[in-house]
């Protein structure tokens, strides 16, 4: 069993590796994640000492506002004289933290709901899927805005809101995969051998749903990063002084002609990161070739 699985992973990796753009995406995603983790550790445990040793603190103004890019400030300085480069590095923290946690929350709630609905059928399926339909009745960002409006604008609430918004994506894919898997012969065999329903769901159905769910997760990471940035841009996300990319673009939008660097660099960071996740998602999909092609929704 374990050798079978490892050859499966090896085959997927070979397929993924042959896809040059996907590998480039993986590099981008890894770099952004490492920067995000370093910023998190630096902020939470080191009192910003790491970034201050390497460069300027993202929080301290240098009294040189609106300076263009230079050697000292590769991305220039903002309206308060803070270094845009170190703030952009720090912006990775919120982006990665929100997107990753929200997608995990959505996957942990949505996937079991979908698997149970697909396997059990009947009224369980009806109830779960009607709830999913209700959540899908909202344009994603509008629902997220409604939720943060009710919960309040901070990191945890943005994660909760986006987590809820993406539940249907996982539930739908898990359901349709579970539905097709539960008609396979090996599931019939397990039933015939008298295994309990929880055993069959956990040991036979769920493991076979992992591939499409993984593809969905990596594509949703791309959307979650844009959604977090959009909320921050609108001032409805994580509040200042914590640097977020969306908020930095928003600050810079007032200085578009005089200091375009304030909004252009953090915007480029969002773009490159999202591109990275999209490339990884597409590469994974090609390598795993799941039955369902991931449905995209903003």
């Amino acid at each position: 069993m374990s050798t079978e699985r490892s050859t499966g992973v090896a085959r997927t990796w070979r397929g993924f590796r042959s896809h040059k753009l996907a590998v480039a995406g993986l590099v981008v995603v890894s770099v952004v994640t490492v920067v995000g983790i370093l910023a998190y550790v630096d902020d939470a445990y080191l009192g910003n000492e790491l970034i201050t040793t390497l460069h300027y603190s993202p929080f301290e103004p240098k009294f040189m506002p609106l300076q263009g890019p230079s050697l000292a400030h590769p991305f220039g300085t903002d309206t308060l004289g803070r270094d845009v480069f170190s703030r952009t590095l720090y912006g990775a923290k919120v982006s990665v933290q929100v997107a990753l946690t929200a997608v995990i929350v959505a996957a942990v709630i949505g996937s079991p709901l979908g698997v149970v609905a697909g396997y059990a059928g009947g009224y369980v399926e009806t109830v779960v899927m009607r709830l999913v339909d209700v959540l899908l009745g909202f344009p994603a960002l509008v629902l997220a805005i409604g939720l943060v409006a009710a919960l309040g604008f901070n990191l945890t609430n943005v994660i909760i809101a986006l987590g809820i918004v993406y539940v249907p994506q996982f539930a739908r894919i898990a359901r349709s995969t579970a539905l097709s898997v539960s008609n396979e012969e090996y599931v019939d065999a397990a039933r015939g051998m008298g295994y309990s329903t929880p055993h069959i769901v956990l040991r036979e159905v769920l493991p076979n749903c992992v591939s499409p769910l993984l593809v969905q997760a990596s594509l949703l990471m791309a959307f979650a990063i844009i959604a977090e940035a959009s909320l921050s841009f609108l001032g409805l996300g994580v509040q200042p002084p914590t640097p977020t990319w969306g908020q930095m673009v928003s600050t810079g939008s007032g200085y578009l002609t005089t200091a375009p660097w304030i909004s252009m660099f953090p915007g480029a960071a969002i773009f490159v990161t999202v591109l990275g996740f999209n490339l990884v998602g597409d590469g994974l999909r090609d390598a795993l070739d799941p039955r369902e092609s991931g449905e995209r929704r903003f």
């Binding site: 009607r130 709830l131 339909d133 209700v134 959540l135 009745g137 909202f138 344009p139 994603a140 960002l141 509008v142 629902l143 805005i145 409604g146 939720l147 943060v148 409006a149 009710a150 309040g152 791309a222 844009i226 940035a229 959009s230 841009f233 609108l234 001032g235 409805l236 969306g246 673009v249 928003s250 810079g252 939008s253 578009l256 002609t257 375009p260 909004s263 252009m264 915007g267 480029a268 969002i270 773009f271 999202v274 591109l275 999209n278 490339l279 597409d282 449905e295 995209r296 929704r297 903003f298």
Partner: protein, 315 residues
């Protein structure tokens, strides 16, 4: 058969809309702050608060409050805005045209670019044009719309004064000017939509070009142009319609952000301002209207699809 399908789809929409209304009602009900205390100020006595609460029906059980609210909403009464001296319904009516105009213009621009691009890419699979379309679609999908909007303003409005940086002009009064003003915001909203549409067109076109009936038609001696237009194209565009409908929600989401960039006086800016000012009746009304529009568009797409492809209603 088809009538039955349409009837079933219509019936299915009712619980979804009810569910949506419950979510909207509950979200706003659980929002922080007591509206009555806010209205009366901190000097109000407990008795004043209790009196006004009873007058607004807020001492009733939650489900009674919900049905009262729903009853009003069905009659088009969304309540009064807290921060503006107008009814929420009037506010929505004044903002909806700008958003619909922007969404429509985005859809037209996206479709005109994406569908031919997707077809070209599929027909010349593996060529340079296929590669450009694929890379272009990936870029369009990854670029944050508010950032793209700023780049377009910087390039086309500030550096070279070719187009105005947004600012809504009523298309009924001055169509030419309205068209000029809508181009930049519509391109911004439409980019990711076009990317999705181009991808869908390419893949469904490729599927159809490999189908037996296309080979059959070719072997019967039909010119490839005829095979292409009469057979493959027609079939290939069916799934594209569904994608376009499903992604209408994306368009609505995108307008919320992009209206902010271009100072576009639509529903998105209304939602944004209401959320910022904790004007909950307005948040409730606008979110409900936007979600209802989305559900109804999906319903229309499904029904249209059943007429275009009889297999749908048969299953």
């Amino acid at each position: 058969m088809r009538h039955r399908y349409v009837a079933i789809r219509l019936l299915q929409t009712i619980p979804v809309l009810l569910g949506v209304s419950v979510v909207v009602f509950y979200i706003i009900h659980s929002a922080p702050g007591d509206p009555i205390v806010n209205m009366l100020g901190i000097e109000a006595t407990d008795e004043n608060v209790a009196e006004l609460r009873a007058a607004y029906g807020l001492n009733e059980p939650l489900y009674v409050q919900y049905f009262n609210w729903l009853g009003d909403v069905v009659q088009g009464d969304f309540g009064q805005s807290i921060t503006r001296e107008r009814s929420v319904a009037a506010l929505i009516a004044s903002r909806l045209p700008a958003t619909l105009f922007l969404a429509f213009a985005s859809m037209v621009i996206a479709t005109v670019i994406a569908i031919p691009a997707g077809i070209l890419s599929a027909v010349r699979k593996g060529s340079k044009s296929d590669y450009s379309v694929t890379v272009g679609a990936l870029t369009g999908l990854s670029i944050p719309n508010f950032w793209l909007g700023l780049i377009l303003i910087l390039l086309f409005a500030r550096t070279y004064s070719i187009l105005p940086p947004g600012n809504y002009v009523d298309p009924m009064q001055d169509p030419v000017n309205a068209g000029k003003h809508v181009i930049l915001p519509a391109v911004t909203v439409g980019t990711a939509f076009a990317a999705l549409l181009a991808r869908q067109t390419r893949s469904s076109m490729l599927d159809n070009l490999n189908q037996e009936y296309v080979k059959m038609a070719k072997s019967k001696g039909l010119s490839s142009r005829k095979v292409f237009t009469r057979h493959a194209l027609k079939q290939a565009l069916l799934p594209v319609i569904t994608v376009a409908g499903l992604q209408f929600g994306y368009l609505l989401s995108a307008t919320v952000v992009v209206e902010q960039v271009f100072a576009w006086p639509g529903m998105g800016r209304l939602i944004w301002a209401a959320v910022r000012q904790q004007d909950y009746p307005t948040v409730q009304g606008t979110v409900l209207v936007v979600a209802t529009m989305f559900v109804l568009v999906n319903l229309l797409v499904d029904i249209a699809y059943s007429y275009l492809d009889p297999r749908v209603s048969a299953s």
